[in-house]
Structure formats: C-alpha cells, structure tokens
Symmetry: C2
Subunit: 344 residues, 2 copies
Amino acid sequence: MKIFYSDKHAAHDCAGEIKDGELKPCFENPSRADAIDQAFKQNGFDTLYTPSDFGLEPVLKVHDADYIEFLHTAWQEWQAIGRKGDIFPLVWPGAGMRREVQPENIDGKLGIYAFDSGTPICAGTWGVVYQGAQAAISTADAVMRKQTQHAFSFSRPPGHHAMPGQYGGYCFLNNAAIAAQYMRDNGAKKVAVLDVDYHHGNGTQAIFYNRADVLVVNVHSDPKHEYPYYLGHADEVGDGAGNGFNVNLPLPKGTGWDKYLPTLNKALHSLEQFAPDALVVSFGADTYKDDPLGFFKLDTNHFIEIGAAIAKLEIPTATILEGGYAIEALGDNVIAMINGLSAK
Amino acid sequence: MKIFYSDKHAAHDCAGEIKDGELKPCFENPSRADAIDQAFKQNGFDTLYTPSDFGLEPVLKVHDADYIEFLHTAWQEWQAIGRKGDIFPLVWPGAGMRREVQPENIDGKLGIYAFDSGTPICAGTWGVVYQGAQAAISTADAVMRKQTQHAFSFSRPPGHHAMPGQYGGYCFLNNAAIAAQYMRDNGAKKVAVLDVDYHHGNGTQAIFYNRADVLVVNVHSDPKHEYPYYLGHADEVGDGAGNGFNVNLPLPKGTGWDKYLPTLNKALHSLEQFAPDALVVSFGADTYKDDPLGFFKLDTNHFIEIGAAIAKLEIPTATILEGGYAIEALGDNVIAMINGLSAK
C-alpha cells in the first residue's frame, strides 16, 4: 500500500456553505485531512508520499478546457470587481434558457460552470484541487508502474460530483475519473471505477457514460431522496457504445450492513465480469452511521470488510478519498478501509 | 387611469438574499410598495382599487400546474422537515443531468423549480404572489371591459423573470404574461407586451416564444453582462409560429436617455406595426440613475416621456410594476410613469 497525501490542502478553507437555506460552516474543511493525517501518524503509517506533478494534460483528458480556465481564474475575476466573500453562483440556465451564450460577467459564467449553490470557491481553491488531482494521478501512476498493487490518495475536497464542465457537491476536479483515464492512457485496456461514497458519483458516471472501456459502478443513496437527485437512478445504464457499462445500485436511507453487503457483492460481481486491468475506488466514509451528511448505518469494522472484498478481486487498485464528514471517526474509518485493502 | 393595489404584499418579507456571494438584506422588500403607496397619498392619487379574485385559472394558462402546486406547498414542506430559515435552492440539474426525474425531497424539487439562488421563499410568499397575479389580472380585466384606457397594478414581488415552470429574479408568477393571456382570452385577438424594466423579461419571452398572437418587445440591459444572462439576446426572435414576434433591444450598461430614446422608439415602432388590440407594459423603475441593481441613467422626468410615448399609441394598456429598488425615488418614478401614461 502506497499512500499519497498533499499537505497543501489547507488553503481551500472557505468561510461557509449554503445548506438547508442557511449559511453554515463548511462540512468539507481542512480538519478532515488533518484528522486522517493524525490518525495515520498514531497508527504507524509513517510513510506518506508527496504527489508528483503530472501537469494539466491528464486533467484536460476528462474536463473541458474552458471549465479548467474558469476554475483557474475565477477567484481573480471575483476579486477584481471588489467581491469580498467566497464565490457562490447567483443564477443559472434553467429549462428554456440558453447554455451556449458566453456571458462576460463572473455571475453569468458561474451559472454555466456550477450546478450547486453549496460549494464555495475561495482564494486557495484552484491550487488545492490541482494538488488533489495530482495526488490521484500519482496513485494511478504508482499502480500502473507496478510499484504497488494498492495505492491510496487522501486529498480534499472530493471529486466524484465534478462533471466534465461543472462543479458542485464540494467537487471541482474529478480525481477518480482523471485517475481512471490516466490508467487507460498508460497501459490498462479496461478500467473500472467502483464508487462506494454515500452519494452517487454523478460526475464520474457522466464522464464515462458513452464508453465501453471504462465501467462505472455506484453503490449509493437513492437520488429520489438524496443529493445529487438528477443522476444516479437505476435506469442509467450507459449510452451508445457505453450501453451496459454503467451500473447504479441505489439503496434507501437508513441502509445498514445487512442490506449494504448484498448490494456491494452485486457491484463486485459486475466488476469481476468486466475483468478490468485496473480499478479506481471512490471511497466515501460518509456511509458511516454518525456521518452528518450521510444516512447509512455502517460501522468502522465494515470498512475493513469493504476493503478486503475489493482486495480479493486482485486487481491493481487506486483508492481515492471522496466524502466523509464525521471528523472524529474519519481517521479510524480511513485506516479500516486501508487495512481491508491491504488484507491478504 | 385605474390603479390596483393589494396592501397584503407585506407578508412576503424574507430575511435575506444571496448576492455577490453574501447573504444581504432583500432589495425586493415591503418598503418598495409602501413607498409607492405613500407617494400616491401625498400626490392625490387617493382612489386605489382592491384587486378582484379571478382564481387560479388565468394563472394556469401560462404556468405549469406542477410548478404552481410546488409554490403553493413549498413552505409547508420546508417547515415539515424542520428547516428554519427562508427557502434557498441547493443543487440543480446542470448540463448532462436529468430534469425529468421527480425528486421526492424538497431540495431536489427546488433545483427543478428555481433558476436562481438569490430569490428566497418565506412564509407569506405564496399568498402575496397570488395577490400580485390577481392585481395584474384586475388591470387587464378593467381595460378589456373598457372601464378605462389605462390601468396600473403595483404589487410586489415583480413577475417578468418567472418562467412557465421556474422562479428566479425575485419573480414567482409572471404577472405581465398572465395579464396578456387574460386579454387574449377576453376579446383581444392580438396582444403585445412591452418590457421596459432594466432587466430582460426572460419569463415573458419564454411563455410567448412560439406564438404569433402575442408580440413581446424588450428594451433592457445587454445580458452579455447583466442578469438574466441566458436569455435576452438580440438574436432571439421567436420560434415556430412565433418567429418574428419576439424583439430584444439590448443596451449597454451606462445607457442614458440620449441612447435610450431611439431604442424605445424602435420598440414602439414594432408595436405600431403589430397593431395589437391591447398592450401590457412591464414597467421597471430600475432604469433610474440611482438604482442599486440597475446601471442605466434615466431620470424621473424620463419616465413621464416613456409613459407619454406609450399613451400616444392609443392602445388599451395594462401597466404592471416590475423592478425598481431606489426606494427614496420609487414613488416619484412610478407617479412620473403614471402621469406620462395619463397624458393626452
């Protein structure tokens, strides 16, 4: 197990997010990665690797160039017109409005590039999400170079909600999709992504929806009643060449291990049938019973079982941290997952 | 001139709106209508008519039934799950996401029915917007019954941004579109809407975009750099049967009377050529030089000229208040418009 960590994440530290109609402190904040870092140190995981810099090229393989340009310049543009707080979108092209117009103003651009009002951008955001993507690519690279069967990246913010050209759900760059594409471009003919975050990985699904070379499998909370609502339904099976290469296994709120395990086994069965050369796991610890944003009932020990079940597939695997907001248990939950993945 | 006013508007009084990334006091608040009411009293406009109740039928002629049901029940649904503040949307279906799914949860529904994060819903919103629509219908009814050549409705919040099935820009029910449709259904074969608010009336345009029986003409700030960004461009000329029956005349920020007047004259020329049986004017006083949300440079006297130019068309006209946020001048500006419209 090779673990990558960028300690530069703390610069993405926004003042608040909009949730339940109120401006609240950000659930997705630096204490998440700090808690994991501390737990690692306390548990003898003393070798953390610093990500290499692979540049923007692998990022631009899954994200639109104009979107990346926007993320890169949004904060300067916001500040240049005297805005004081974090960036939040104001208006977006709803039904019957035009997406293809190119507004010259930052508020107009925000509606094109955001799908969510609860995801602030602040001064350090771009630098941090760039590092997070590099950490994800580093795991993919370590696995593809056969340095390790398993690599793990813990960065923040998460990535799996990020669409080809839109941010939301705390996510800006889709680290898992970038890692999967990097694997495709570096020797793997078939790659699978298994997303076991509490929330559906709508961005990862969207990025690979028309492709047969990347299977995307999600086990998640039913979007009928949970974020991100507008993707993640069971009838989304892929399109065109990708038909049959997208699997959604939504579960109701309140799901415990008894119902989670058989669904996870279904997901693993899909992976086995696909027989990928490499695997990316989008790991969210927000399936944990006390997570403030998740409503499944898994316990810390269950993450060992999830990790071990994935390890049994014997596929070279890059695991990437997505959500997980129960800070007090986050370190233990991540270590449980890593211990499971490392099981023989 | 017959003036309709519902003094029940004060119940739509939300705690704040999201603007420039910050939660700020609402620009669109009860003091707007109170200021106009007071100016009317001080200037001898002592007969204000209470709107009649025409029910929901004329509203449902331009708005989707599921949207109206949502507006009607949103606050109860929000409160039922323990939410404390005003309603704001969290996430919406961006590019590549599905609009047709029917989320069961209020946050999921909000993304379907809102196109804007700066338009709060609070306890009194539905009752007030219902009254506003009734005031608009009352003006249309008074004109169609030939009780008066000119009727004026001042209600709040405004309406012209409201789409067939989405709210935004402080607007929930499209009062102008409802009035225009009411005119069509009560004797007018051809109806025109002239929108002279600072912002483009995207909702009114969208509602009549495929129709040849309602001409929609907008004089407004160029959406390349101004709200609502995604509609209001000069190349939007109507579609299908409506091709040629939508006219957008965008003007740059900073426009003063010298440039406004020739554009207004173009708009009036379009109206003359169409020769409607009845006219709805969406009047925004946010073209005023000191408006905090508008960046044109009209003075109070210019509203007299706008009103008089419209009156010269000699078309039965229902004028409906849209925006205008310079509270200290709002009463004078509305009276100037009414004096212009009343000119012989």
